[in-house]
């Protein structure tokens, strides 16, 4: 790429200043590119918060800005999880909101009145620019080559694996967490290299910031101890390692405990135990090292083995004892699902139901990282060749992260930084060797030949590239790859990752863009036409959006802290009306929201998620809700004529297809998502009435009917309203039956 070639040109002729200046300019350009490539969504659509979780973060940020820090810290939110409420202040990672709140206040102080929404939308791109800088610093620590850092920064800036979580509007924890991750690692490497308390303390500070920002901090908590542990096992103990690690651990653990959500986890949870164990171990090693100074080898050995055995036995026994007695919490469920990919599906359907917790499909690696993925092993190999302390870190990180990325789609995010580092190392090595304009000088050649005679050079031959042909071929192909990489990244970003998913876009046959804005239409309807405390029931995916956009209380949302409550909603959705109605009444539900994509062919709708609702409900009420009932005898999941009675009578089915048949000529109703023909008559809803259906039928809202004035049950009342004559007969039967009873 340009930076290294420029460096080569400038070598010797101009001084270091020119190169430094160029480097700064290049870095600024990279940061600008990183920011601007994330703005597709703002340009295509508008400055809007994306997806689901960001809506909660946005709402929390607004709360923070309006009510100040302390009330945010103690925030009890009674507008979510309706009867229960949520201790929001103590159950979130506040880093993101506080960051944008601080930015907001600083801008206000500078008399730049910026809407908090715009800060939230643009926070992720802004931090991605910083990530590129942090990446430069990190990679520069790994390599002597000046181009490696710049390459890594450029890769990090535009690689889709990172862009996927940091486009403008994707106001999620990862937006700042990846920057913090990379920067913490940089500081850590720096600390290990220098062995000073200051760098260790800085690492701890940024680690604390990271803890406040993202649950993925556990990755750092385990990676750094692992690094130290491997160094110890390699016999590379040094005071530098001791100083940096102990400082980091002592300060970082305390720092992480300041976050209410983390609290005592660092000493209670098994996820954090490795750090503590290594902390103890390094104390021992340091002490042993200290004793060693006073003793000859043999006695020292004896002393050492006895000490190691003693402490290991004590520590292990204590750990087992405490785990058994339950003082230390067992590993969390999400963690188990990292080791056993089938675990979540069996035990915790609610984790498995989230698409980003699914195992990664292999094309995703190429899609997200392009040619970096095959430079990655080369870079790791080069780290093996040098293998200083920091290279050990790269090796460990890459092994761990590639495993995790294979297990869970969202952890691709943690793999991306190390892939960028390794690929940049490999590529910079190639470029440094092949971009040298002058052929290797004859002196070295002569040296090589003389050494050939002495038979010593077999070990260390002088390598150089002589022919212009090979140079140009390699350089040209590398350039081609880089250009393709840029093209790929741009394409992926603009096509795959820039959709807000609140606003959908599709192409009309003539190629013009067609905006589908059903979600906001429906949420706005809710905001305008319902009382302020009308409770909305929907599947949990839409909880945050309803809270953020419609500003109405919800029963469940994306913070899935209470599985039973979610299962209750699942049961209400998947049961017959007679069962669901009491549930709805008990939970004060006023409106029910369903997402239905049948008209438009929008595949992420509730009927496709329906099986997860059934499964989650079955987890709590295995007698009342059975997944098997929703499959036909041949094991198919159908919604047409042959759908099972349980399916046809479920509230979800009825709400989805209510009145849908009236859109089509008789007998022609089609479901475009599932590609099937529907039954002729639409399902009959008794206890709910349609309140609103958005333009493309994506969002449908139903109002829960009040109890009947005359004390009839709803099916009778509806039958009465429909046709007087015939129903009267059935009605007359009704009371008679009652009387006889």
């Amino acid at each position: 790429m340009a930076p290294s070639s420029l460096d080569v040109v400038l070598k010797g002729s101009s001084g270091r200043n020119t190169r430094g200046l160029l480097r700064v300019i290049i870095l600024c350009t990279i940061a600008a590119a990183a920011v601007s490539s994330r703005l597709f969504s703002v340009i295509r659509f508008e400055s809007i918060i994306h997806e689901f979780d960001p809506w909660f973060n946005f709402r929390a940020t607004k709360y923070l800005v309006e009510n100040g820090f302390y009330s945010f810290w103690d925030w009890f939110d009674d507008r979510t999880w309706h009867p229960l409420g949520r201790v929001t202040g103590g159950t979130l990672y506040p880093g993101l909101m506080v960051t944008s709140g601080v930015i907001y206040h600083i801008l206000r102080l500078l008399t730049i009145p910026v809407d908090i929404r715009n800060i939230c939308v643009l926070l992720a791109p802004g931090f991605s620019g910083l990530t590129a800088l942090a990446m430069y610093l990190l990679t520069s620590e790994m390599s002597d080559s000046p181009s490696a850092g710049l390459l890594a920064a450029a890769f990090m800036g535009i690689t889709p694996g990172y862009i996927s979580r940091s486009v403008a509007g994707s106001y999620d924890n990862e937006a700042i967490a990846i920057f913090l991750l990379v920067f913490t690692f940089y500081l850590w490497i720096k600390a290990v290299k220098n062995g000073s308390i200051m760098w260790g303390a800085l690492t701890a500070l940024f680690y604390g910031y990271m803890v406040s920002a993202w649950g993925g901090y556990v990755f750092i908590t385990n990676l750094i101890p692992l690094h130290v542990f491997v160094l110890l096992c390699m016999g590379r103990y040094s005071t530098r390692v001791y100083i940096s690690y102990t400082t980091w651990y002592a300060l970082g653990t305390l720092g992480s405990m300041q976050i209410p959500f983390v609290g005592f986890l660092p000493i209670r949870n098994s996820d954090h135990m490795s750090a503590l164990g290594v902390f103890g171990l390094i104390q021992l090693v340091a002490f042993a090292e200290f004793i060693r100074g006073y003793l000859p080898g043999k006695q020292f050995q004896k002393l050492l083995t006895s000490m190691v055995l003693l402490t290991f036995g004590l520590g292990f026994g204590g750990l087992v004892l405490l785990s058994v007695s339950g003082v230390i919490a067992p590993w969390s469920g999400r963690f188990y699902s990292l080791w056993d990919t089938g675990y979540a599906k069996i035990h915790i359907p609610i984790i498995a139901s989230v698409s980003e917790h699914q195992p990664t499909a292999w094309p995703a690696f190429f899609f997200d990282l392009n040619f970096l993925i095959w430079l990655f092993p080369a870079g790791v190999f080069m780290c093996f060749q040098k293998l200083k302390d920091e290279h050990v870190f790269v090796v460990i990180y890459s092994v761990l992260a590639s495993y995790f990325a294979g297990v869970m789609v969202r952890l691709m995010l943690t793999l991306t930084p190390i892939v960028c580092v390794a690929a940049a190392l490999a590529l910079s090595c190639i470029l440094d060797n092949f971009l040298v304009a002058s052929t290797p000088s004859t002196e070295t050649k002569a040296k090589a030949t003389t050494e050939d005679k002495s038979l010593r050079s077999a070990r260390n031959p002088v390598v150089g590239i002589y022919s212009w042909f090979s140079k140009s071929v390699v350089v040209a192909s590398v350039t081609l790859y880089l250009l393709m990489f840029v093209a790929h990244c741009t394409w992926v970003t603009s096509n795959a990752y820039s959709s807000p998913s609140v606003v959908l876009a599709s192409k009309l046959p003539d190629g013009s863009q067609f905006i589908i804005d059903d979600y906001r239409e429906a949420y706005y309807w809710l905001r305008q036409n319902t009382p302020d405390n009308a409770k909305i029931m929907s599947w949990w995916d839409y909880g945050y959006q309803i809270g953020g956009m419609a500003d109405r209380p919800t029963l469940v949302d994306n913070n899935t802290w209470n599985n039973t409550h979610i299962a209750t909603v699942g049961k209400a959705m998947s049961s017959r009306e007679e069962v669901s109605y009491p549930i709805l009444r008990q939970h004060d539900v006023d409106y029910v929201l369903v997402v239905f994509g049948g008209l438009l062919g929008y595949s992420g709708d509730d009927l496709n998620k329906f099986l997860w609702m059934v499964r989650i409900a079955e987890g709590i009420w295995p007698d009342e809700v059975k997944e098997r009932d929703f499959f036909t005898a041949r094991g198919e999941y159908r919604v047409d004529e042959e759908a099972t009675p349980a399916m046809k009578n479920s509230l979800m089915y009825k709400m989805s297809y209510h009145n849908y048949q009236s859109l089509f000529p008789p007998g022609q109703a089609m479901d475009r998502v599932r590609g099937t023909k529907l039954p002729k008559e639409s399902p009959q809803l008794n206890t709910l009435e349609e309140a609103f259906t958005s333009e493309n039928w994506i969002v449908r809202l139903y109002k829960v009917k009040d109890l009947d004035n005359l004390g009839r049950d709803h099916s009778n009342a509806v039958a009465f309203d429909k046709g007087l004559k015939r129903k009267r007969a059935t009605k007359r039967k009704g009371p008679r039956v009652l009387r006889t009873e």
């Binding site: 500070l205 102990t246 000493i267 060693r292 006073y294 006695q299 004896k302 405490l322």
Partner: protein
């Protein structure tokens, strides 16, 4: 609290050997008695003599401070075990203040005594590192005493800020 105990026992082991002589044979005597009881005590005595004769005054001061910290931490831990950990925040911050300060002091001691008077631990670890010839910088990181002390203060400030904030 097992790992805490683990850490505590190791930390208490670290300086207790240098300062008061008795604990060392206690620690090592367990398995060592299997072979020759005398040699373990001899070793410990040898270590103690070496330590007392070679350590400079300033380092001794640091060691005394570390011993004090171990004492404080140990007391808190014993209290926690005996009297219950009711204000758990307070216990944790007090205990980790002791541990953290100990660790920081140990780091300071390493930085200052290594580059100063190479108290004997230097050559040995050097010998170990010699296996890896490509290790460019050896033991002495070239930090001056003033720099090390400034770092120490910086770290301690952060530590105590966190502790005070956490104590409730």
């Amino acid at each position: 609290m097992a790992p805490k105990r683990h850490a505590a026992s190791t930390t208490s082991a670290a300086p207790s050997t240098p300062t008061p002589a008795p604990p060392t044979p206690k620690l090592s005597s367990g398995p060592a008695t299997l072979k020759t009881n005398a040699s373990a005590a001899e070793i410990a005595g040898h270590v103690w003599q070496q330590y007392a004769s070679t350590t400079p005054q300033r380092t001794l001061l640091l060691d005394a401070f570390m011993a004090f910290l171990v004492l404080v931490g140990g007391l808190q831990f014993v209290y926690c075990v005996l009297a219950g950990n009711y204000p758990f925040n307070a216990f944790l911050s007090g205990f980790s203040a002791a541990v953290g300060q100990f660790v920081l002091t140990a780091s300071l001691r390493m930085q200052t005594s290594d580059s100063g008077t190479g108290s004997g631990s230097k050559p040995s670890s050097k010998g170990k590192n010699a296996h890896f010839a490509d290790e460019s910088e050896e033991q002495g990181t070239g930090t001056s005493h003033e720099r090390a002390f400034a770092d120490y203060i910086f770290g301690s400030l952060i530590l105590h800020f966190f502790c005070v904030n956490f104590i409730n």
